[in-house]
């Protein structure tokens, strides 16, 4: 979304994302996909080597002449077990939209109980 605006303004962009599925759907100009938990597009805190590997791949993609809509990937090994990583990136308190959806689901369930 912002990438489109920046490119229109004459800036070359490269997007680094754990959701290349989504980048492809919206039509991002240059996308580097990386399989990491949310909130960690450039890797683990304190892991300079992992961060540089991802950044290096992003810089290589910038020179690509194939675009627009060019996509590439970089492989990193995430040091946590998947189940742990899946929980670890999530906020300690559910976000307002998730709370709202839960409340609505509970209200609907209660209505159904009252109807039966």
């Amino acid at each position: 979304m912002l990438a489109q605006t920046f490119e229109e303004a004459g800036l070359s962009t490269v997007l680094v994302t754990m959701m290349p599925f989504w980048a492809e759907k919206i039509g991002a100009p240059r996308t580097l996909g990386v399989e990491v938990p949310f909130g960690h597009p450039l890797g683990m805190p304190g892991d300079r080597e992992m961060q540089m590997k991802i950044i290096g791949a992003a810089l290589s993609l910038l020179g690509e002449t194939r675009g627009p809509g060019v996509m590439s990937e970089v492989e990193v090994e995430w040091p946590q077990p998947s189940d742990e990583a899946r929980k670890d990136w999530q906020p300690l308190e559910a976000s307002p939209i998730i709370k709202m959806m839960r409340d609505q689901a509970q209200a609907r369930a209660q209505e159904r109980r009252q109807e039966t």
Partner: protein, 166 residues
Amino acid sequence: MPVDSFKYLPRSIAAYFQTLRVDRADPIAWTPLSKPLDECRFGLVTTAGIYDMERDPPFDADREKRQPLWGDPTYRRLGRGVVEGQIAASHLHINNRDILADVNIVLPVDRFAELEGQGVIGSLAAENYSFMGYQPNTIEWRERYGPEVAGLLKDEAVDAVLLTPV
């Protein structure tokens, strides 16, 4: 192995993204890189909702709590010399702990300063930018704040931008 976009997502959120309809950019905007990397000036832009406590107020998380279908569309500036103790985050959709421990995982100011020193890139801009990624409605990004930040980056003679959506 191809990147699995849903590996770390709870099933309900994965299903939401898989079924969400969105208009694909057509045409996709494209600015070819105009010069070699070692001559390019870089800007960094993240949507991690971080800000420099010494310069700027937080993103408006209180309003989002009252109106869950709204996300603060404004942006914050972060200087290239910003350090972890100056940074706070107001993104309600992730655990901000790791970002506050090492901002380079979303806004790699130290890594790009190193690349500048090594001559891999031309330079890193003095100012970099942060948005907050939860945006149910992107009109203000498209029409106001996105073009504003693009203009600020251009004013600093930036050629290329590394974007990290969060």
